[in-house]
Amino acid sequence: MARYGMVIDLNTCIGCNACTMACKAEHATPKGIFWAKVLEKEVGKFPAARRIFLPVLCNHCKNPICQEVCPTGATYKREDGIVLIDYDMCIGCRSCMEACPYGPRAFYESDGAYYPGERTAYEKSQQDFSEGVVMKCNFCVERVDQGLDPACVVTCVTECRVFGDLDDPQSEVARLVADKKARPLLPEKGLEPSVFYVGS
């Protein structure tokens, strides 16, 4: 059984947010909600100052605290490591959001349409969730199940994202994790993310 993971090269990411928009387009996420995004931070003092870019998404942890705290079982982990939410089961208690240190989850409270009034035909077609639930990146599971890469990976203009099977030693993600000092965010939390970063 595969264990899906992703490696992101922070040296190469230019902070353009193509991934942010591709994800939104793929999943028709509601207003104000971003399953993938690029966080920024300034380091240094002028003139030796720069911004750093950190693309983030759900880490699909091997040891997901969100699944543990979910009272309904809406959050569950597939055998291939993808952590999913069954939007019909979620009651919107947000305890998962209070447990996950990475911040990929968002609560879709209400009124998420981008244009006032009714949802567009596109939103109606693509949204498999309703109001009142917590939502997050699903590693583009519908694409992965067809053998495609996630939307954020495909669109990235600098090709700084790789997706694949962490348990396959031949896969690029596995090799990067083994060779290039790829590390996850906040490893000390013990959640064992499947998303790794190289570079700085």
């Binding site: 353009c16 928009m21 971003f34 920024e40 300034e42 100052a49 077609s125 203009v157």
Partner: protein, 844 residues
């Protein structure tokens, strides 16, 4: 509706969220457009798509779109004044438009002004065909900033429209006032990928910019610079290379440029006979000989005497001229430490590997893996032409021109020799007409101008758009023999993209009738008399959106042609404005003339030429065009099905430098002749005119803001680009707006943290930024990533039109701070000076 698709189709089309025109695949599920992805078969996208392209999808569903023709019923015009639109039928609208245009044409066809940044319609149909057939020269009221100085400087120095460099081999790149390769600038998609590969390979990037942009964030070195002083920096680099390090490519300079051309005391070439060829000093025969004589060894330095006249090679003039730009003198001008200037010059010179070669595709080519790339930030100032020419000289003196790793202009040579540059009789490069944009910078007309751009007063530029506004504001100044009577606008936000909106609004109110083709009731539609619903790009049918002049990127290694075809049905009664204008031409009886001109300009061949007595749908015209270029096998139906036709570039098409005869100018002798011509024209107009910028060698001259820095206007304000917005067209996109609202910088006013602290401004506070032209209010963002003397405002934000509810009130409008006057345009190129002094204060 969520669930598996009953029907699914992928349609090839082309994005239009910026000019790069990346190929896309639009996915429709059960007839609904649900995703846009990069077309893997398009060399520019290769399956990738930037944030703007991804966001284009939601724009199709925008309920604020103009859906029907509208006529103004309120005679009062003004910013924020309700036009009281009344909906009318297309037939009525066409009658009104035809009637008005007929009257204008009868009175004086030059009274028609067309303003559009629709690159496809403008460059293929309007400027070369429809407007001339109508009879007006006033069809290029386009941009005010980057293009003006840049394109002219490029046509003059590299024979092509734009500036680019070879990311496949470059090892050291200096980005001067631009973020090429970091999701801004030309062909951003493919250059971002190439830049990423180059950086992975170890290429070093130096960005010179007052703002710590996305490019500066990734660069190996960010050189913060005081705005408007880039020319001094570049001239200082040239000085160090020529006069301290003795580091320059003598071979390239003597054989491939006019460096060796002998120049007399008046600055003009020494010529054989009266109008003969320029002479050079042959070191072998120790005498002056024509430049193109065989087997000579031309000197590029030294002082000589020929025909009793004292002379020196043009390069000698340049070398002496740049001595004035010692790093110590340039440091207080630019705020760049002299030691850094020297170090960068040394690094640049060393990285250029002068004299080295590389084998590519079996050819031995000169290898100069360095480039300086200039764009808007550095050039859009008064005297910006000088800065651009200095940059080009810097590339030339190390021989990094159209060779592996170096500077290049896009598509100087066409596929399979279809086009190539020409040369003046002095042997200097002239652009091929395929990408030439009518640029002729060596012959000058000495007659009074009769176009709003005042062509003859500004011969060395590609567009004179700020002069349209200045002429409208003060028509008595240049006493044109007619008045503008009718303005047609499409995809050109004249209110937001010029200077302060009040100035342009006052100018526009003088035009009796304004027609806009609009997707939204935007800031310029607000001042229109007739608004016609324009198609959204996903509803449009545009052939060959990648233009050889600049949006067919050499970085792809291919020449490529695509088709933007409709993905969705037009909303409401939207129509493509070209179709409307063709119909009007038909009603007025000049469509046949339009076809004749199109036959020439589109290069249509028998049997596909358009018959002026027939009428064609756009589909048929495109079919003629594609078959003319690619034969009967590749008609429009082929393109609809397959998307892109591409051919790989041969080595001499990638690196034409060693294969070309025409030379590149390091000395601009034509400027002396232009100076005389312009002075004559100005005298004819009875207008005092400053021609001091027409010099054969560039200088740095301070722009108005440089000298004006006394209290209370003590800071500079500059504009810069962010990766997920482009011009004003993206501001109404709700996804991009959502992103911008969450972004830490996008909609804010950037202030240096130290400067902000000194002025008692806290992060997140509302502040005013005020110049002599206007004031704007926004949220302060204290940051380390900006020069202490500079305030930064990104993009074209701060929309106010009620017809753009998503964009309205978001961000800050930089252009409101810009004054527009003759004193503030670059005298050579008419580029509007885009930095100005401001003061900031707390808004509370």
């Amino acid at each position: 509706m969520y669930g598996p698709a009953e029907s699914e189709e992928w349609i090839h089309s082309v994005c239009d969220m910026c000019f790069a025109a990346c190929g896309i695949l639009a996915r429709k599920k059960n007839g609904v457009l649900v995703k846009i992805e990069g077309d893997p078969n398009c060399p520019a996208s290769e399956g990738h798509l930037c944030p703007k392209g991804q966001a284009g999808l939601i724009g199709v569903y925008d309920p604020s779109r103009v859906k029907a023709p509208l006529i103004r019923t309120n005679p009062q015009k003004g910013i924020g004044v309700d036009p009281r639109w009344q909906e009318i039928s297309w037939e009525t609208a066409l009658e009104i438009l035809t009637d008005k245009l007929t009257k204008v044409r009868e009175k004086d066809p030059r009274g028609l002004v067309v303003s559009s940044f629709d690159q496809i319609a403008g460059s293929y149909f309007i400027r070369p065909a429809w407007a001339p057939a109508f009879g007006t020269p006033n069809s290029d009221w386009v941009g005010y900033f980057c293009g003006n100085y840049l394109h002219a400087s490029m046509y003059l120095t590299n024979g092509s429209f734009h500036s680019d460099f070879d990311l496949d081999y470059c090892n050291y790149a200096i980005l001067l006032g631009n973020q090429q390769g970091f999701m801004a600038g030309l062909n951003a998609n493919v250059t971002a990928r190439k830049m990423a590969d180059a950086r992975r390979r170890g290429m070093r990037v130096v960005t010179v910019d007052p703002v710590g942009t996305n490019a500066a964030a990734k660069a190996d070195e960010w050189v913060p610079i005081r705005p408007g002083t880039d020319g001094a920096f570049i001239l200082s680099l040239i000085n160090v290379l020529l006069n301290e390090l003795n580091c320059y490519d003598r071979d390239f300079l003597s054989r491939r440029t006019n460096a060796a051309y002998l120049v007399g005391e008046d600055g003009g070439y020494l010529k054989e006979g009266r109008d003969g060829k320029p002479l050079v000093w042959d070191l072998k025969s120790q005498g002056a000989v024509p430049f193109d004589e065989a087997n000579i060894d031309p000197a590029i330095e030294g002082l000589f005497s020929a025909g009793g006249e004292r002379c020196q090679p043009a390069f000698q003039v340049l070398k002496e001229h740049v001595r004035d730009y010692a790093p110590e003198r340039v440091e207080p001008i630019t705020t760049i430490p002299a030691a850094n200037i020297r170090r960068i010059a040394k690094e640049f010179g060393a990285a250029a590997r002068i004299g080295s070669t590389i084998v590519i595709d079996g050819e031995v080519l000169p290898y100069r893996p360095v480039a300086v790339n200039i764009y808007r930030g550095a050039g859009a100032h008064k005297h910006g032409t000088h800065t651009a020419l200095a940059v080009q000289i810097l590339n030339m003196i190390v021989g990094a021109y159209y060779v592996p790793g170096g500077h290049r202009g896009p598509n100087l040579v066409g596929p399979a020799g279809r086009w190539g540059p020409g040369a003046t009789k002095e042997g200097l490069i002239t652009p091929p007409s395929a990408i030439g944009h009518g640029a002729r910078y060596y012959e000058f007309e000495e007659r009074s101008p009769d176009d709003l751009g005042l062509h003859q007063l500004f011969p060395i530029t590609t567009n004179r758009s700020p002069m349209y506004e200045i002429n409208l504001t003060n028509p008595q100044d240049f006493s044109l023999p007619y008045k503008p009577e009718l303005l047609i606008v499409c995809r050109r936000n004249l209110l937001m993209n010029n200077g302060n909106p009040e100035i342009i609004a006052a100018a526009l109110k003088k035009i009796p009738f304004i027609v806009t083709f609009s997707t939204h009731l935007d800031e310029v539609a607000e001042l229109a008399d007739l608004v016609l619903p324009e198609a959204h790009y996903l509803e449009r049918f545009d052939l060959f959106p990648n233009r050889p002049s600049h949006t067919m990127s050499p970085a792809t290694g291919h020449f490529y042609w695509g088709l933007r075809q409709p993905v969705v049905e037009p909303l409401g009664q939207s129509r493509r404005w070209i179709d409307v204008l063709f119909e009007v031409a038909d009603r007025m009886g000049f469509l046949g003339d339009v076809y004749k001109l199109m036959n020439v300009n589109l290069g249509l061949k028998e049997p596909y030429k358009l018959d002026p007595n027939q009428r064609y749908t756009m589909d048929q015209i495109y079919d003629c065009w594609t078959k003319s270029l690619f034969g009967p096998e590749r008609g429009i139906e082929w393109f609809k099905k397959n998307g892109y036709h591409k051919v790989p570039r041969a080595v001499e098409e990638k690196y034409p430098g060693p294969f070309l005869k025409p030379r590149f100018p390091v000395y601009f002798e034509n400027m002396l002749r232009a100076k005389k011509s312009v002075a004559k024209v100005a005298a004819q107009l009875g207008h005092p005119w400053d021609t001091s910028d027409y010099q054969p060698v560039p200088d740095w001259k301070p722009c108005p803001a440089y000298d004006a820095g006394k209290s209370p206007y003590d800071l500079f304000v500059v504009n810069f680009k962010i990766p997920f917005h482009s011009l004003s067209v993206t501001t109404q996109n709700p996804w991009l707006n959502d992103l911008a609202e969450h972004h830490p910088y996008a909609y804010k006013i950037l202030i240096n943290a130290e400067t902000g602290k000194r002025k008692g401004i806290k992060d997140g506070e509302e502040i005013w930024v005020e110049s002599v032209a206007g004031k704007v209010k926004g949220e302060a963002k204290l940051t380390e990533c900006i020069h202490p003397e500079v305030v930064g405002i990104a993009g074209v934000f701060g929309s106010w039109a009620k017809g753009k509810p998503v964009a309205r009130g978001k961000g800050v409008h930089f252009n409101s701070l810009l004054p527009v006057s003759l004193e503030r345009v670059d005298p050579v190129s008419t580029g509007l000076d885009s930095c100005v002094r401001v003061k900031i204060s707390r808004a509370a």
